[in-house]
């Protein structure tokens, strides 16, 4: 037996048991600590504060730890593991080898076979993934800008604030799969006043892979706006945390409302924008009307594809989502280094590292010369 085959057949399957081992380890450690603490208590000796804290901490999170190991971590391990093999579901929901040859034990060391065959068998899949990425990149700024504007308006002094808030949070309650698909089927999801023809005629000049998502964007405008309920909530909560003293100071300095928005409100909301962007990407990627999720479900029960194949598809999808999240994070996160334009402060920082910025060096030289 070659080394690769040995790893593939004997070592890799152990991955399935890692979450359970972790859970048992935690339980044993907790039990030992608990017994130790009880014995100390019975002997009327003090138990260290750290030990007590850990025990109580685990008391509160213990159900969750059990759940996350059994349901989440084991699921992740399972699906990752099975994506390296060639298995399908039979009628009794047992996992069996996909083809007869696999069953005869002729398994070869080919952990990435599923990932490669996704590209060969599923010609649509890379295209669907790319379309999803493009439409997500288009939708994200729309949702963020829209919810920010609404939150700003709702935060100001307006009459009927409660009434408007009630309406704007309504989508959080009813914007869901079956209701949405009924509404889309009725054609209610596009704005009634905007003519579809105008949009398509404008877009004819563009290449198709950009034009399609843009016209989708317009045709689904209501759906997109409906998806921004939670984002409005998050922005509103964030707006209330901006200290009023800052606005007062700006007013005394004679800043206009426009300047105040760009110089105070937006920078203070930066972390909220990041949070919102991540939340939006995650919800758009995981909601059940997403076409990729349909593809994955269909592949799970298809005769020639099977569970392992679907698992490989899922992980490829996960990687795409992760990349999108990373891009969002890099664009929106706070850029600390650019902020500190102050030469001297930068010099102090540089001095700590034993260097001096060139600008300051020049200034010092000039000072000496004078």
């Amino acid at each position: 037996m070659s080394m690769g085959n040995f790893l593939y057949e004997k070592v890799l399957p152990l991955l399935e048991y890692v979450p359970y081992a972790l859970l048992i380890g935690v339980c044993v450690a907790l039990l030992i600590t608990l017994i130790y603490a009880l014995i100390r208590n019975a002997q009327k000796k003090p138990v260290a504060r750290g030990v007590r804290e850990s025990l109580w901490g685990y008391f509160f999170i213990f159900p969750w730890v059990v759940g996350i190991c059994i349901f989440f971590l084991s699921g992740v391990a399972n699906s990752l593991l099975y994506s390296f093999y060639n298995l399908k579901l039979d009628n009794g929901l047992q996992l069996i080898p996909l083809t007869a040859e696999d069953a005869t034990g002729a398994q070869v060391y080919a952990p990435l076979a599923n990932y490669i065959s996704v590209f060969n068998k599923e010609l649509n899949y890379p295209v669907t993934l790319a379309n999803f990425a493009v439409s997500l990149i288009l939708q994200l700024p729309v949702i963020i800008a829209f919810s920010l504007i609404i939150a700003l308006m709702l935060n100001g002094r307006i009459r009927g604030r409660g009434f408007f808030r009630t309406i704007f949070f309504l989508p959080v309650i009813i914007a869901t799969g079956p209701v949405m698909s009924q509404l889309t089927a009725q054609g209610v999801s596009s704005v009634p006043m905007v003519s579809q023809n105008v949009i398509t005629s404008v877009l004819t000049g563009l290449p198709e892979f950009i034009a399609t998502p843009i016209s989708d964007l317009f045709s689904q405008l209501i759906l997109i706006l409906w998806n921004s309920g939670i984002q409005i909530l998050i922005f509103l909560a964030g707006l209330q945390k901006v200290p009023t003293a800052m606005y007062e100071a700006a007013k005394i300095d004679g800043a206009s409302a426009w300047e105040t928005f760009w110089k105070i409100t937006l920078p203070s909301l930066r972390s909220m924008i990041l949070l919102n962007s991540i939340y939006t990407v995650v919800t758009l990627a995981t909601n059940s009307t997403n076409p990729i999720i349909d593809l994955i479900y269909n592949a799970t029960y298809a005769v020639t594809k099977g569970y392992s194949y679907a698992a490989a598809m899922t992980w490829m999808y996960t990687v795409v989502v992760a990349i999108l999240l990373l891009i969002t994070f890099l664009i929106v996160r706070e850029k600390k280094e650019k902020k500190s334009n102050d030469v001297w402060r930068r010099d102090v920082e540089a001095n700590k590292r034993g260097m001096q910025s060139k600008k300051v060096q020049k200034m010092l030289e000039r000072g000496k010369a004078a």
Binding site: V26, S54, W56, G57, Y58, F59, F60, I61, P63, W64, V65, V66, G67, I68, F71, S74, G75, V76, L95, I149, M153, G156, I158, G162, F164, R165, T166, I167, F168, F169, L170, I173, I174, T176, P178, V179, Q182, L183, Q186, V188, S189, I222, L225, A237, G238, K241, G254, S256, A257, S271, L275, A285, T286, T300, A311, T314, W315, Y317, A322, L325
Partner: protein, 329 residues
């Protein structure tokens, strides 16, 4: 008219102009009329866009067959009819399904709120070994698509004979902190418990309250706002989810055998309608066929409980959003 008069008039005119400008465009402390009008127009337009599908659904659901075909009756039905609702109630087996759905949504919601608030408190208040590791796992669970874990979980459930159409799998997952979107609930409670002053809880402990009592009596009542938000959200999530619910109930499960939800019934609305009214057999006489009005009545009925709940809780919800600290720093 003297020159001084002219000057005076000119001055008065410019002052008036200035005043007009100030009123329209606003000054540092007041919003101008123009801005106010723009804000209200925008708000009302967007409010209309948000309400439009609901209004559309409602008006359609009251239309007769003739109104649907009549292009002139696009918005208002020419005569109101309740027949669509009667048909939809029969198709969905409404009162029965509603009761089952309430069981299926309420019980797990209660468990979820309780457990998630405890977990959030544990993370916010205590230091323990592996804390950072568990926090990382929590974030990973938030970021990974649920499709990664849903099928292995389904296999586990069906091997353990848990996916049997009862509320059991829902309760077990909720008690173990793995209900629908429970990660978000934990994060909300975590942020909120972090904001409660430690000194209050510690004072209670010095006064002789145990750790659990301090949580139950001090920390929990301080986060009522978070409880309102999480309860409403969880209920809505449990009510609206379909894919996972079908997985937990077991595929091939029907409403005759056990629990069901209105959303699942809504998904197979057309088939149920055809069997209930035997429409396929009598399709020649087209009076019996399903139409948009009946579909919309079904949709209205299945979200009606949520709408009622929302409008009852609306005040507390909107207020608590201000205080819930959903966001963290």
């Amino acid at each position: 008219m003297t020159l001084a008069d002219m000057e005076l008039k000119e001055k008065a005119k410019s002052i008036r102009k200035e005043k007009f400008k100030k009123r329209m465009l606003g000054s540092a402390d007041r919003r101008g009329l123009l801005m106010t009008v723009v804000v209200y127009v925008l708000l009302i337009t967007i409010a209309f866009i948000f309400l439009y599908p609901v209004l559309y659904m409602f008006s359609r659901s009251l239309m007769t067959r003739n109104d649907l075909l009549d292009a002139s009756a696009k918005w208002l039905p020419s005569q109101l009819t309740a027949k669509n609702y009667q048909d939809a109630i029969l198709t969905l087996d409404y009162w029965n399904s509603l009761w089952k759905n309430l069981v299926l949504a309420l019980l797990p919601t209660i468990c979820q709120v309780f457990v998630c608030s405890m977990v959030g408190y544990g993370f916010a208040r205590y230091k323990f070994p592996l804390k950072n590791f568990w926090m990382a796992v929590l974030l990973l669970a938030f970021l990974l698509p649920p499709q990664v874990t849903s099928l292995p979980n389904y296999l586990n459930f069906s091997r353990l004979k848990l996916a049997d159409g009862t509320v059991k799998p829902f309760l077990i997952t909720a008690i173990l902190g793995q209900g629908f979107k429970s990660v978000l609930c934990v994060l909300i409670f975590y942020n909120f418990h972090r904001q409660t002053p430690q000194s209050l809880v510690e004072a209670a402990e010095i006064d002789g309250a145990g750790h659990f009592k301090a949580y139950w009596r001090i920390a929990l009542p301080l986060c009522t706002a978070a409880i309102v938000v999480v309860t409403l959200f969880s209920f809505v999530w449990y009510w609206n989810e379909t894919t996972l619910v079908r997985e937990y109930l077991g595929y091939g499960h029907t409403r005759a055998k056990g629990l069901t939800t209105l959303m699942i019934e809504l998904q197979k609305f057309e088939d149920s309608y055809n069997t209930t009214f035997d429409a396929r057999a009598s399709s020649v006489t087209s009076t019996n066929k399903i139409n948009d009005a009946i579909r919309m009545a079904g949709t209205m009925l299945s979200i009606a409980p949520l709408l009622i709940l929302y409008f009852v809780l609306q005040k507390q919800f909107v207020e608590s959003v201000d205080r819930a600290g959903i966001t963290g720093e």
